[in-house]
Protein backbone atom coordinates (compact mmCIF):
# COMPACT_ATOMS: atom_id res chain seq x y z
CA UNK A 1 0.00 0.00 0.00
CA UNK A 2 2.89 2.30 0.74
CA UNK A 3 3.93 1.99 -2.87
CA UNK A 4 0.51 3.20 -3.91
CA UNK A 5 0.76 6.18 -1.59
CA UNK A 6 4.20 6.90 -2.98
CA UNK A 7 2.85 6.84 -6.51
CA UNK A 8 -0.02 9.16 -5.72
CA UNK A 9 2.24 11.49 -3.76
CA UNK A 10 4.87 11.73 -6.45
CA UNK A 11 2.23 12.44 -9.05
CA UNK A 12 0.48 15.11 -7.04
CA UNK A 13 3.67 16.79 -5.88
CA UNK A 14 5.15 16.86 -9.37
CA UNK A 15 2.02 18.17 -11.04
CA UNK A 16 1.55 20.65 -8.24
CA UNK A 17 5.10 21.91 -8.47
CA UNK A 18 4.86 22.24 -12.23
CA UNK A 19 1.55 24.07 -11.92
CA UNK A 20 3.07 26.48 -9.44
CA UNK A 21 6.04 27.08 -11.71
CA UNK A 22 3.66 27.86 -14.54
CA UNK A 23 1.68 30.29 -12.43
CA UNK A 24 4.82 32.02 -11.22
CA UNK A 25 6.24 32.27 -14.74
CA UNK A 26 2.97 33.60 -16.07
CA UNK A 27 2.77 36.24 -13.38
CA UNK A 28 6.35 37.29 -14.01
CA UNK A 29 5.79 37.53 -17.76
CA UNK A 30 2.68 39.59 -17.31
CA UNK A 31 4.44 41.95 -14.93
CA UNK A 32 7.29 42.41 -17.41
CA UNK A 33 4.83 42.93 -20.22
CA UNK A 34 3.06 45.64 -18.30
CA UNK A 35 6.36 47.31 -17.54
CA UNK A 36 7.40 47.36 -21.19
CA UNK A 37 4.12 48.82 -22.31
CA UNK A 38 4.31 51.76 -19.89
CA UNK B 1 17.40 17.63 -59.43
CA UNK B 2 19.39 14.54 -60.35
CA UNK B 3 22.16 16.57 -61.85
CA UNK B 4 22.41 18.60 -58.67
CA UNK B 5 22.40 15.39 -56.66
CA UNK B 6 25.25 14.01 -58.72
CA UNK B 7 27.13 17.28 -58.32
CA UNK B 8 26.76 17.34 -54.56
CA UNK B 9 27.48 13.65 -54.13
CA UNK B 10 30.67 13.79 -56.14
CA UNK B 11 31.71 16.93 -54.31
CA UNK B 12 31.19 15.40 -50.87
CA UNK B 13 32.99 12.24 -51.91
CA UNK B 14 35.83 14.17 -53.46
CA UNK B 15 36.23 16.21 -50.28
CA UNK B 16 36.34 12.98 -48.35
CA UNK B 17 38.86 11.46 -50.72
CA UNK B 18 41.10 14.46 -50.26
CA UNK B 19 40.69 15.08 -46.56
CA UNK B 20 40.17 11.46 -45.57
CA UNK B 21 38.34 12.42 -42.41
CA UNK B 22 36.30 9.25 -42.53
CA UNK B 23 39.35 7.13 -42.97
CA UNK B 24 41.41 8.69 -40.25
CA UNK B 25 38.76 9.64 -37.73
CA UNK B 26 35.56 7.70 -38.08
CA UNK B 27 37.03 4.30 -38.89
CA UNK B 28 39.46 4.40 -35.97
CA UNK B 29 36.59 5.43 -33.75
CA UNK B 30 34.54 2.46 -34.90
CA UNK B 31 37.42 0.07 -34.40
CA UNK B 32 38.06 1.60 -31.01
CA UNK B 33 34.42 1.03 -30.12
CA UNK B 34 34.79 -2.66 -30.96
CA UNK B 35 37.85 -2.90 -28.79
CA UNK B 36 36.16 -1.19 -25.88
CA UNK B 37 33.19 -3.49 -26.22
CA UNK B 38 35.54 -6.45 -26.16
CA UNK B 39 37.09 -5.12 -22.97
CA UNK B 40 33.66 -4.64 -21.48
CA UNK B 41 32.19 -8.01 -22.45
CA UNK B 42 35.08 -10.32 -23.03
CA UNK B 43 37.24 -12.20 -23.02
CA UNK B 44 35.02 -15.26 -22.84
CA UNK B 45 34.14 -16.36 -26.31
CA UNK B 46 30.49 -17.22 -25.71
CA UNK B 47 29.63 -13.81 -24.40
CA UNK B 48 31.28 -12.07 -27.29
CA UNK B 49 29.57 -14.26 -29.85
CA UNK B 50 26.19 -13.61 -28.27
CA UNK B 51 26.81 -9.90 -27.93
CA UNK B 52 28.43 -9.46 -31.35
CA UNK B 53 25.36 -8.42 -33.37
CA UNK B 54 24.43 -5.79 -30.81
CA UNK B 55 27.96 -4.51 -30.55
CA UNK B 56 28.30 -4.26 -34.32
CA UNK B 57 25.21 -2.11 -34.56
CA UNK B 58 26.10 0.02 -31.58
CA UNK B 59 29.51 0.78 -33.05
CA UNK B 60 27.83 1.59 -36.34
CA UNK B 61 25.26 3.92 -34.77
CA UNK B 62 27.81 5.88 -32.78
CA UNK B 63 29.92 6.23 -35.89
CA UNK B 64 26.85 7.41 -37.76
CA UNK B 65 26.58 10.34 -35.39
CA UNK B 66 30.10 11.33 -36.37
CA UNK B 67 29.13 10.98 -40.02
CA UNK B 68 26.12 13.20 -39.50
CA UNK B 69 28.27 15.86 -37.89
CA UNK B 70 30.72 15.65 -40.75
CA UNK B 71 28.08 15.87 -43.45
CA UNK B 72 26.64 18.95 -41.82
CA UNK B 73 30.03 20.56 -41.34
CA UNK B 74 30.66 20.24 -45.06
CA UNK B 75 27.63 22.40 -45.76
CA UNK B 76 28.47 24.97 -43.16
CA UNK B 77 31.62 26.48 -44.55
CA UNK B 78 31.04 29.94 -46.03
CA UNK B 79 32.54 28.88 -49.36
CA UNK B 80 30.05 26.04 -49.71
CA UNK B 81 27.13 28.22 -48.75
CA UNK B 82 28.14 30.79 -51.32
CA UNK B 83 28.54 28.19 -54.01
CA UNK B 84 25.20 26.57 -53.24
CA UNK B 85 23.44 29.88 -53.43
CA UNK B 86 25.14 30.98 -56.64
CA UNK B 87 24.52 27.70 -58.41
CA UNK B 88 20.90 27.69 -57.33
CA UNK B 89 21.01 24.02 -56.43
CA UNK B 90 17.76 22.24 -55.95
CA UNK B 91 17.54 21.43 -52.22
CA UNK B 92 16.06 18.02 -52.87
CA UNK B 93 19.00 17.33 -55.13
CA UNK B 94 21.42 18.50 -52.47
CA UNK B 95 19.78 16.17 -50.01
CA UNK B 96 19.93 13.19 -52.33
CA UNK B 97 23.53 13.94 -53.18
CA UNK B 98 24.61 14.20 -49.57
CA UNK B 99 22.61 11.13 -48.60
CA UNK B 100 24.12 9.09 -51.42
CA UNK B 101 27.64 10.12 -50.49
CA UNK B 102 26.96 9.29 -46.88
CA UNK B 103 25.35 6.00 -47.90
CA UNK B 104 28.51 4.93 -49.68
CA UNK B 105 30.70 5.93 -46.78
CA UNK B 106 28.44 4.07 -44.37
CA UNK B 107 28.54 0.92 -46.47
CA UNK B 108 32.32 1.02 -46.47
CA UNK B 109 32.29 1.40 -42.71
CA UNK B 110 29.80 -1.45 -42.37
CA UNK B 111 32.08 -3.73 -44.36
CA UNK B 112 35.06 -2.83 -42.22
CA UNK B 113 33.12 -3.28 -39.00
CA UNK B 114 31.75 -6.57 -40.25
CA UNK B 115 35.23 -7.87 -40.97
CA UNK B 116 36.27 -6.74 -37.51
CA UNK B 117 33.33 -8.45 -35.86
CA UNK B 118 33.79 -11.69 -37.79
CA UNK B 119 37.44 -11.87 -36.95
CA UNK B 120 37.57 -10.50 -33.43
CA UNK B 121 34.32 -11.88 -32.08
CA UNK B 122 34.40 -15.26 -33.78
CA UNK B 123 31.04 -14.92 -35.44
CA UNK B 124 29.94 -17.24 -38.23
CA UNK B 125 27.27 -16.06 -40.63
CA UNK B 126 24.98 -18.63 -42.19
CA UNK B 127 22.61 -16.47 -44.16
CA UNK B 128 24.58 -13.81 -45.98
CA UNK B 129 21.58 -12.61 -47.96
CA UNK B 130 19.78 -11.37 -44.89
CA UNK B 131 22.90 -9.74 -43.53
CA UNK B 132 23.80 -7.87 -46.70
CA UNK B 133 20.22 -6.75 -47.22
CA UNK B 134 20.01 -5.48 -43.67
CA UNK B 135 23.24 -3.54 -44.04
CA UNK B 136 22.14 -1.88 -47.25
CA UNK B 137 18.66 -1.00 -46.03
CA UNK B 138 19.98 0.31 -42.74
CA UNK B 139 22.57 2.43 -44.53
CA UNK B 140 19.75 3.94 -46.59
CA UNK B 141 17.77 4.99 -43.52
CA UNK B 142 20.78 6.06 -41.51
CA UNK B 143 22.22 8.22 -44.27
CA UNK B 144 18.89 9.95 -44.90
CA UNK B 145 18.22 10.56 -41.23
CA UNK B 146 21.77 11.78 -40.67
CA UNK B 147 21.68 14.38 -43.44
CA UNK B 148 18.28 15.51 -42.25
CA UNK B 149 19.20 15.85 -38.60
CA UNK B 150 22.46 17.45 -39.54
CA UNK B 151 20.43 20.14 -41.26
CA UNK B 152 18.29 20.49 -38.15
CA UNK B 153 21.08 20.94 -35.71
CA UNK B 154 22.16 24.30 -36.93
CA UNK B 155 25.24 25.98 -35.78
CA UNK B 156 28.44 24.36 -34.67
CA UNK B 157 28.32 25.25 -31.02
CA UNK B 158 25.22 23.31 -30.22
CA UNK B 159 25.56 20.64 -32.81
CA UNK B 160 28.11 18.45 -31.07
CA UNK B 161 25.96 17.64 -28.08
CA UNK B 162 22.57 18.15 -29.61
CA UNK B 163 22.86 16.00 -32.71
CA UNK B 164 23.35 12.69 -30.88
CA UNK B 165 20.43 13.40 -28.57
CA UNK B 166 18.18 14.11 -31.54
CA UNK B 167 19.42 11.48 -33.95
CA UNK B 168 19.96 8.41 -31.82
CA UNK B 169 16.42 7.97 -30.42
CA UNK B 170 15.06 8.24 -33.94
CA UNK B 171 17.32 5.51 -35.29
CA UNK B 172 16.56 3.15 -32.41
CA UNK B 173 14.35 1.01 -34.70
CA UNK B 174 17.35 0.54 -36.99
CA UNK B 175 19.31 -0.73 -34.03
CA UNK B 176 16.61 -3.13 -32.95
CA UNK B 177 15.87 -4.39 -36.45
CA UNK B 178 19.50 -4.54 -37.46
CA UNK B 179 20.53 -6.60 -34.47
CA UNK B 180 17.66 -9.00 -34.93
CA UNK B 181 18.44 -9.32 -38.62
CA UNK B 182 22.09 -10.03 -37.81
CA UNK B 183 21.02 -12.68 -35.33
CA UNK B 184 18.71 -14.16 -37.93
CA UNK B 185 21.62 -14.24 -40.36
CA UNK B 186 23.77 -16.01 -37.80
CA UNK B 187 21.05 -18.51 -37.00
CA UNK B 188 19.77 -18.84 -40.56
CA UNK B 189 16.27 -17.83 -39.50
CA UNK B 190 14.72 -16.87 -42.79
CA UNK B 191 11.19 -15.77 -41.95
CA UNK B 192 12.19 -13.90 -38.84
CA UNK B 193 14.90 -12.07 -40.69
CA UNK B 194 12.40 -11.05 -43.33
CA UNK B 195 10.23 -9.24 -40.83
CA UNK B 196 13.15 -7.18 -39.55
CA UNK B 197 14.27 -6.41 -43.09
CA UNK B 198 10.78 -5.04 -43.53
CA UNK B 199 11.23 -2.68 -40.62
CA UNK B 200 14.55 -1.48 -42.02
CA UNK B 201 12.99 -1.00 -45.43
CA UNK B 202 10.10 1.04 -44.04
CA UNK B 203 12.49 3.16 -42.05
CA UNK B 204 14.73 3.72 -45.06
CA UNK B 205 11.92 4.64 -47.42
CA UNK B 206 10.16 6.90 -44.93
CA UNK B 207 13.27 8.87 -44.07
CA UNK B 208 14.39 9.19 -47.64
CA UNK B 209 11.00 10.58 -48.55
CA UNK B 210 10.93 12.92 -45.56
CA UNK B 211 14.42 14.06 -46.39
CA UNK B 212 13.61 14.93 -49.97
CA UNK B 213 10.54 16.81 -48.86
CA UNK B 214 11.91 18.68 -45.86
CA UNK B 215 15.58 19.31 -46.53
CA UNK B 216 14.86 22.41 -48.54
CA UNK B 217 12.61 24.13 -46.00
CA UNK B 218 15.07 23.28 -43.27
CA UNK B 219 18.10 24.69 -44.98
CA UNK B 220 16.61 27.98 -46.09
CA UNK B 221 17.45 30.72 -43.66
Amino acid sequence: MSYVIAGYTITLVTLGAYTLSLIVRLRKMRALGRKNKS
Amino acid sequence: MWRDAWLVASRDLRIEARSRVVLWQVVPFAVLALLLFAFAFGPQRERLVTAAPGLFWLALLFSTVLFAQRARALEGSPATREATRLLGLDPAGVFIGKAVALFLELVILEVLLLVGILLLFHVVVLSWGILVASLLLAALGLSSASVLYGALSGEAQMRATLLPVLLLPIVAPVLIAGVRAFQAAVNAGGALGGRWLGVLAVFGVVYSALGIALYGPLEEN
Binding site: M1, Y3, V4, I5, A6, G7, Y8, I10, T11, L12, T14, L15, Y18, T19, L22, I23, R25, L26, M29, R30, L32, G33, N36 | A73, G76, S77, P78, L148, L152, S153, G154, E155, A156, Q157, M158, L162, V165, L166, P169, I170, A172, P173, I176, A177, R180, L192, R195, W196, V199, V202, F203, V206, L210, L214, P217, L218, N221
Partner: protein, 240 residues
Amino acid sequence: MRRTVLRLLGPIALVLVIADVIMGLFVTPPDVVQGEIVRLVYIHPALAWVALYVAFGMAALCSVLYLWPRTRSMTFDYLAAAAVEVGVVFTILTLITGSIWGRTTWGVWWTWDARLTSTALLAVMFMGYLALRRVPADPHVRARRCAVVALFAAVDVPIVHFSVIWWQTLHQGATVLNSNLSPTIHGSMAWTLLLSFVAFTAAYAWMVIARYRIEVIRHSGDTQELDAAVEARKAEGVAL
Protein backbone atom coordinates in the same frame (compact mmCIF):
# COMPACT_ATOMS: atom_id res chain seq x y z
CA MET C 1 -18.23 32.81 -22.69
CA ARG C 2 -14.85 31.38 -23.75
CA ARG C 3 -13.00 33.44 -21.18
CA THR C 4 -15.25 32.16 -18.45
CA VAL C 5 -14.64 28.58 -19.49
CA LEU C 6 -10.90 29.12 -19.53
CA ARG C 7 -11.00 30.84 -16.16
CA LEU C 8 -12.90 27.96 -14.65
CA LEU C 9 -10.75 25.28 -16.23
CA GLY C 10 -8.04 25.51 -13.60
CA PRO C 11 -10.27 25.12 -10.54
CA ILE C 12 -12.35 22.48 -12.29
CA ALA C 13 -9.28 20.44 -13.17
CA LEU C 14 -8.05 20.76 -9.61
CA VAL C 15 -11.34 19.57 -8.19
CA LEU C 16 -11.49 16.64 -10.59
CA VAL C 17 -7.97 15.53 -9.74
CA ILE C 18 -8.62 15.73 -6.03
CA ALA C 19 -11.85 13.84 -6.52
CA ASP C 20 -9.94 11.18 -8.42
CA VAL C 21 -7.39 10.87 -5.64
CA ILE C 22 -10.04 10.57 -2.95
CA MET C 23 -12.05 8.06 -4.91
CA GLY C 24 -8.96 6.16 -5.84
CA LEU C 25 -7.46 5.95 -2.39
CA PHE C 26 -10.46 5.74 -0.13
CA VAL C 27 -13.77 5.14 -1.80
CA THR C 28 -13.10 2.39 -4.28
CA PRO C 29 -12.66 -1.16 -3.00
CA PRO C 30 -9.42 -3.10 -3.30
CA ASP C 31 -9.21 -5.58 -6.14
CA VAL C 32 -9.90 -9.25 -5.55
CA VAL C 33 -6.64 -10.30 -7.12
CA GLN C 34 -4.30 -7.33 -6.80
CA GLY C 35 -5.45 -5.88 -3.52
CA GLU C 36 -4.55 -2.30 -2.80
CA ILE C 37 -2.12 -2.11 -5.69
CA VAL C 38 -4.97 -1.75 -8.13
CA ARG C 39 -5.40 1.81 -6.91
CA LEU C 40 -2.58 2.81 -9.21
CA VAL C 41 -4.95 2.22 -12.10
CA TYR C 42 -6.58 5.49 -11.19
CA ILE C 43 -3.49 7.47 -12.07
CA HIS C 44 -1.10 5.54 -14.26
CA PRO C 45 -3.24 4.79 -17.34
CA ALA C 46 -4.63 8.32 -17.38
CA LEU C 47 -1.13 9.79 -17.17
CA ALA C 48 -0.03 7.52 -19.99
CA TRP C 49 -3.04 8.48 -22.07
CA VAL C 50 -2.30 12.18 -21.68
CA ALA C 51 1.42 11.82 -22.29
CA LEU C 52 1.39 9.46 -25.23
CA TYR C 53 -1.76 10.43 -27.05
CA VAL C 54 -2.98 13.85 -26.02
CA ALA C 55 0.31 15.70 -25.54
CA PHE C 56 2.29 13.95 -28.20
CA GLY C 57 -0.59 13.91 -30.64
CA MET C 58 -1.16 17.60 -30.13
CA ALA C 59 2.53 18.38 -30.58
CA ALA C 60 2.63 16.39 -33.80
CA LEU C 61 -0.56 17.92 -35.14
CA CYS C 62 0.50 21.49 -34.35
CA SER C 63 3.88 20.82 -35.90
CA VAL C 64 2.30 19.63 -39.12
CA LEU C 65 0.01 22.65 -39.13
CA TYR C 66 3.01 24.90 -38.71
CA LEU C 67 4.95 23.24 -41.51
CA TRP C 68 2.02 23.32 -43.91
CA PRO C 69 2.35 26.67 -45.66
CA ARG C 70 -1.35 27.43 -45.75
CA THR C 71 -1.80 27.04 -42.01
CA ARG C 72 1.58 28.31 -40.92
CA SER C 73 1.38 30.44 -37.81
CA MET C 74 3.52 30.99 -34.76
CA THR C 75 0.48 30.01 -32.72
CA PHE C 76 1.03 26.42 -33.69
CA ASP C 77 4.69 26.60 -32.83
CA TYR C 78 3.86 27.92 -29.37
CA LEU C 79 1.15 25.31 -28.89
CA ALA C 80 3.48 22.52 -29.96
CA ALA C 81 6.18 23.71 -27.59
CA ALA C 82 3.67 23.94 -24.75
CA ALA C 83 2.35 20.47 -25.53
CA VAL C 84 5.83 18.99 -25.52
CA GLU C 85 6.88 20.59 -22.26
CA VAL C 86 3.75 19.50 -20.43
CA GLY C 87 4.03 16.18 -22.22
CA VAL C 88 7.49 15.58 -20.79
CA VAL C 89 6.16 16.05 -17.27
CA PHE C 90 3.37 13.57 -17.87
CA THR C 91 5.68 11.12 -19.63
CA ILE C 92 8.12 11.06 -16.75
CA LEU C 93 5.26 10.57 -14.33
CA THR C 94 3.96 7.75 -16.50
CA LEU C 95 7.32 6.06 -16.29
CA ILE C 96 7.58 6.55 -12.53
CA THR C 97 4.09 5.27 -11.77
CA GLY C 98 4.57 2.47 -14.25
CA SER C 99 7.82 1.55 -12.56
CA ILE C 100 6.18 1.55 -9.13
CA TRP C 101 3.41 -0.64 -10.43
CA GLY C 102 5.95 -3.02 -11.89
CA ARG C 103 7.79 -3.13 -8.61
CA THR C 104 4.69 -4.11 -6.70
CA THR C 105 3.47 -6.59 -9.24
CA TRP C 106 6.62 -8.23 -10.57
CA GLY C 107 9.12 -7.19 -7.95
CA VAL C 108 11.33 -5.28 -10.38
CA TRP C 109 11.64 -1.54 -10.91
CA TRP C 110 11.88 -1.87 -14.64
CA THR C 111 11.11 -4.30 -17.42
CA TRP C 112 11.84 -3.99 -21.08
CA ASP C 113 8.30 -4.51 -22.17
CA ALA C 114 7.04 -2.68 -25.23
CA ARG C 115 5.07 0.04 -23.50
CA LEU C 116 7.64 1.14 -20.96
CA THR C 117 10.47 1.01 -23.48
CA SER C 118 8.60 3.01 -26.11
CA THR C 119 7.55 5.51 -23.49
CA ALA C 120 11.11 5.93 -22.28
CA LEU C 121 12.27 6.53 -25.83
CA LEU C 122 9.47 9.04 -26.34
CA ALA C 123 10.59 10.87 -23.21
CA VAL C 124 14.08 11.18 -24.66
CA MET C 125 12.68 12.46 -27.97
CA PHE C 126 10.59 15.04 -26.12
CA MET C 127 13.62 16.21 -24.21
CA GLY C 128 15.58 16.47 -27.45
CA TYR C 129 12.84 18.73 -28.75
CA LEU C 130 13.11 20.94 -25.68
CA ALA C 131 16.90 21.01 -25.96
CA LEU C 132 16.62 22.11 -29.58
CA ARG C 133 14.19 24.78 -28.52
CA ARG C 134 16.76 26.36 -26.24
CA VAL C 135 19.25 26.87 -29.07
CA PRO C 136 19.21 30.57 -29.88
CA ALA C 137 17.85 31.17 -33.33
CA ASP C 138 15.44 33.20 -35.35
CA PRO C 139 11.95 32.24 -34.09
CA HIS C 140 10.81 31.00 -37.48
CA VAL C 141 13.94 28.93 -38.03
CA ARG C 142 13.58 27.47 -34.57
CA ALA C 143 9.90 26.81 -35.12
CA ARG C 144 10.65 25.00 -38.36
CA ARG C 145 13.37 22.86 -36.83
CA CYS C 146 11.32 21.91 -33.80
CA ALA C 147 8.30 21.14 -35.93
CA VAL C 148 10.39 18.78 -38.06
CA VAL C 149 11.75 17.06 -34.97
CA ALA C 150 8.25 16.60 -33.60
CA LEU C 151 7.05 15.31 -36.94
CA PHE C 152 9.89 12.82 -37.18
CA ALA C 153 9.24 11.66 -33.64
CA ALA C 154 5.58 11.16 -34.53
CA VAL C 155 6.51 9.14 -37.61
CA ASP C 156 9.08 7.19 -35.69
CA VAL C 157 7.04 6.23 -32.64
CA PRO C 158 4.83 3.70 -34.44
CA ILE C 159 7.93 2.15 -36.00
CA VAL C 160 9.63 2.04 -32.62
CA HIS C 161 6.54 0.63 -30.98
CA PHE C 162 6.18 -2.29 -33.34
CA SER C 163 9.88 -2.94 -33.36
CA VAL C 164 9.95 -3.12 -29.59
CA ILE C 165 6.89 -5.37 -29.44
CA TRP C 166 8.43 -7.78 -31.91
CA TRP C 167 11.78 -7.46 -30.17
CA GLN C 168 10.10 -8.35 -26.90
CA THR C 169 7.69 -11.08 -27.85
CA LEU C 170 9.81 -12.86 -30.40
CA HIS C 171 12.62 -12.96 -27.93
CA GLN C 172 10.75 -13.84 -24.81
CA GLY C 173 8.59 -16.51 -26.27
CA ALA C 174 6.41 -17.92 -23.52
CA THR C 175 6.69 -15.12 -21.02
CA VAL C 176 4.70 -12.28 -22.49
CA LEU C 177 4.93 -9.39 -20.11
CA ASN C 178 1.83 -7.31 -20.19
CA SER C 179 1.91 -3.98 -18.45
CA ASN C 180 -1.75 -3.52 -19.16
CA LEU C 181 -2.96 -5.51 -16.22
CA SER C 182 -6.70 -5.23 -16.39
CA PRO C 183 -8.33 -5.82 -13.05
CA THR C 184 -11.94 -6.88 -12.96
CA ILE C 185 -13.59 -3.52 -13.36
CA HIS C 186 -16.96 -2.88 -11.92
CA GLY C 187 -19.06 -0.21 -10.33
CA SER C 188 -17.19 2.56 -8.61
CA MET C 189 -13.91 1.37 -10.07
CA ALA C 190 -15.10 1.94 -13.62
CA TRP C 191 -16.41 5.39 -12.84
CA THR C 192 -13.25 6.39 -11.04
CA LEU C 193 -11.17 5.16 -13.93
CA LEU C 194 -13.18 7.33 -16.29
CA LEU C 195 -12.89 10.20 -13.85
CA SER C 196 -9.12 9.88 -13.83
CA PHE C 197 -8.95 10.26 -17.59
CA VAL C 198 -11.15 13.33 -17.55
CA ALA C 199 -9.33 14.85 -14.58
CA PHE C 200 -5.83 14.49 -15.96
CA THR C 201 -6.87 15.60 -19.41
CA ALA C 202 -8.39 18.71 -17.87
CA ALA C 203 -5.21 19.31 -15.88
CA TYR C 204 -3.19 18.90 -19.05
CA ALA C 205 -5.44 21.34 -20.89
CA TRP C 206 -4.99 23.98 -18.22
CA MET C 207 -1.23 23.50 -18.16
CA VAL C 208 -0.87 23.70 -21.92
CA ILE C 209 -2.91 26.88 -22.08
CA ALA C 210 -0.86 28.44 -19.30
CA ARG C 211 2.40 27.41 -20.95
CA TYR C 212 1.15 28.66 -24.29
CA ARG C 213 0.34 32.04 -22.78
CA ILE C 214 3.78 32.26 -21.30
CA GLU C 215 5.26 31.59 -24.72
CA VAL C 216 3.08 34.22 -26.38
CA ILE C 217 3.98 36.91 -23.88
CA ARG C 218 7.62 36.00 -24.05
CA HIS C 219 7.68 36.52 -27.79
CA SER C 220 5.44 39.53 -28.11
CA GLY C 221 8.00 41.72 -26.46
CA ASP C 222 11.44 42.98 -27.30
CA THR C 223 12.50 42.92 -30.88
CA GLN C 224 15.83 44.13 -29.56
CA GLU C 225 16.45 40.82 -27.88
CA LEU C 226 15.47 39.05 -31.06
CA ASP C 227 17.82 41.06 -33.25
CA ALA C 228 20.67 40.44 -30.84
CA ALA C 229 20.00 36.73 -30.98
CA VAL C 230 19.97 36.71 -34.77
CA GLU C 231 23.23 38.63 -34.89
CA ALA C 232 24.83 36.20 -32.46
CA ARG C 233 23.76 33.26 -34.56
CA LYS C 234 25.09 34.80 -37.72
CA ALA C 235 28.40 35.39 -36.00
CA GLU C 236 28.55 31.74 -35.02
CA GLY C 237 27.91 30.71 -38.61
CA VAL C 238 30.76 32.83 -39.93
CA ALA C 239 33.09 31.53 -37.25
CA LEU C 240 32.62 28.00 -38.58
